[in-house]
Symmetry: C2
């Protein structure tokens, strides 16, 4: 079978696919913890460029690289946690949930967005931690590292407010089975919304936006990370698919307006459009909180099918991920081959400039 631009898609039909990626031209590259970002500018201007220049080699669809996960079939646990104002309790509570998920067989555990702090602009600077310093400066991620190592599981650690110098970020840490911090994703798209009478929230008043898409190779697959509002930007998921992600994890806390309208829609659309798994994890709903989360953590398969979901209460839900389903769907509907690169192409700008 050939996919893409005449380059073989090297799936096997076993449970350990040789590659699940889109068409690709370059070998895999290590994905280290990201360096500190440069200063950011919102609403970035386009640089001038001469017209009629042929372009193609930096298109996202040609950038994916192969990666063979050790586990192509495994259990995932989504911990929809009730978060309180008591940070120590939140950390202990999250640890207990992770342990419970692991006891139920989860080899990958996902936590919610902002699970150690209330979701409010006032709280973020108070609860923020210096993740790079680690140890006592970051008790939340220290716990995640310890428990990942102890239980030999991979953790996509939801997100916590991160302090770095004089800036705050909304940051997701990924730990491997040795407890090593494998990746740190700082929310790229900050949630600035104003729907009169419904919701107004300006996340960018508190947080600084991240500068890097995050794809990380783990024992349980190549995982792309987005945080909440990042899911609304289809280009990010396309970019992750093109980089060969098997699964995109979106810790998120959609609200009571956009939650019922769009939360499930986005998860299913990102999964089926890119033919990969999507996992989301929300805080449990606290009707008395300043920001009321919709809940409904979910795992979606590569055909847009909901594999497990829950309501708004606190819950630990477990489901099986089977990457051979990606192969199956991409064989049935070879979208990558059918794409019209002569009409449109997504550019992965960082790869272009690297």
């Amino acid at each position: 079978m050939k996919v893409g631009f005449g380059i073989p898609l090297c799936f096997s039909s076993t449970l350990k696919p040789q590659s699940l990626c889109h068409s690709y031209l370059t070998p895999p590259t290590p994905l280290p913890v990201q360096p500190l970002p440069p200063p950011i500018f919102h609403s970035r201007p386009c640089l001038p460029i001469p017209r009629h220049t042929p372009i193609t080699s930096f298109f996202a669809s040609s950038m994916a690289s192969s990666f063979k996960p050790e586990q192509a079939r495994f259990k995932i646990g989504l911990c929809q946690l009730l978060v309180t104002a008591d940070k120590e309790r939140n950390i202990a509570h999250a640890r207990q949930a992770i342990e419970d998920a692991a006891k139920r067989g989860a080899q990958l555990v996902v936590l919610p967005e902002i699970w150690n702090s209330p979701i409010s602009s006032d709280s973020f600077p108070v609860y923020a931690e210096d993740i790079d310093a680690g140890g006592d400066a970051s008790p939340s991620t220290t716990m995640l590292s310890e428990v990942a190592s102890l239980l030999k599981i991979t953790i996509v650690g939801g997100s916590i407010p991160e302090r770095c110098g004089d800036k705050l970020y909304n940051t997701c840490c990924v730990f491997d089975t040795d407890g090593k911090l494998k990746a740190k994703h700082r929310k790229i798209h900050l949630f600035d919304i104003d729907i009169p009478g419904k919701i107004s929230f300006q996340e960018s008043k508190t947080f600084t936006a991240g500068e890097n898409p995050t794809v990380v190779d783990t024992e349980v697959g190549r995982i792309g990370i987005g945080i909440c509002y990042d899911i609304r930007f289809q280009e990010l998921a396309m970019l992750y698919a093109a980089r060969g992600a098997h699964l995109i994890c979106y810790p998120g806390a959609f609200n009571m307006t956009t939650g019922p309208l769009h939360w499930e829609l986005f998860q299913r659309a990102r999964a089926v459009d890119n033919q990969l798994y999507v996992a989301t994890c929300s805080p449990a709903r606290d009707a008395g909180a300043v920001y009321v989360a919709w809940g409904h953590s979910t795992l979606v398969g590569p055909f847009g099918e909901i594999l497990v979901t829950t309501e708004h209460e606190e819950a630990i839900i477990i489901s099986e991920v089977d990457y051979s389903q990606i192969e199956l769907r991409r064989t049935s509907l070879p979208l990558e081959k059918q794409r019209r690169g002569d009409l449109y192409q997504l550019v992965d700008v960082q790869r272009l400039n690297s």
Copy 2:
């Protein structure tokens, strides 16, 4: 209000928005009937390009141009027609449905994919018409032209099999209120699917793929056209949004496998991701047909909300389109401004090369 790269989004708050487009750099260009396409090649190779070349001016997001529709609020009619093997009956039946929709106030009428012929590879060459020759060589589009002119309405004429030389296309014609053929969209992505035990269909064995995205300026807005499987490719909708479309019409005939799974999902995702209207029109279901259509023609608003839909039986459904809703949604959630052009960009390849 500013949107995008410092370029004003010139909405008014009235029912006649001055512009509904994404950020834009170039003035509007006329959108003629498309020329005959060059030979096509499936799975097109990427051309080599020097790396480290700055790129930006051909990105889709910088290509949209302004357009002021005469009607920013109007009624749309979706005619979900039962199609038979009797072509003359199909044409008369479609005409009657268009007249009925117009009587109910529709100023824009949309027909289904393949409404003059059964959906089967054997039928397509038999029912195909020479649209460019017109007159008796194309009784289906001659009828559409006449009725559009007579009723002073815009028609997105679903699709019919088109014969052009020795090739067949799955083609949608758009007629203005004077009965003029404004645009002809040949289905770009052909439906080749193989889900064992569910559905196997190789549209490319019969049809040749179109070579051009289609955006047409009408009295009822700037309309992007896709046919059925075209909806599965998110890039096309993104490209239409970037070219300033207010509405994307997808005549389509999803089947009994992908219909219940994906039909509504795609419509809502394309609408909410691009903050524009999406209208679809399917044939009514004929359980005895070789290809059984899902039905469920639908209008979706720019917040992903279903404004009108129907089941699988024959039906004419009417709903209001109000382009000020696009302004409202883009003001509440300024996605275009929030996009990270420093990380990803969609290239509109034809505009790049023009």
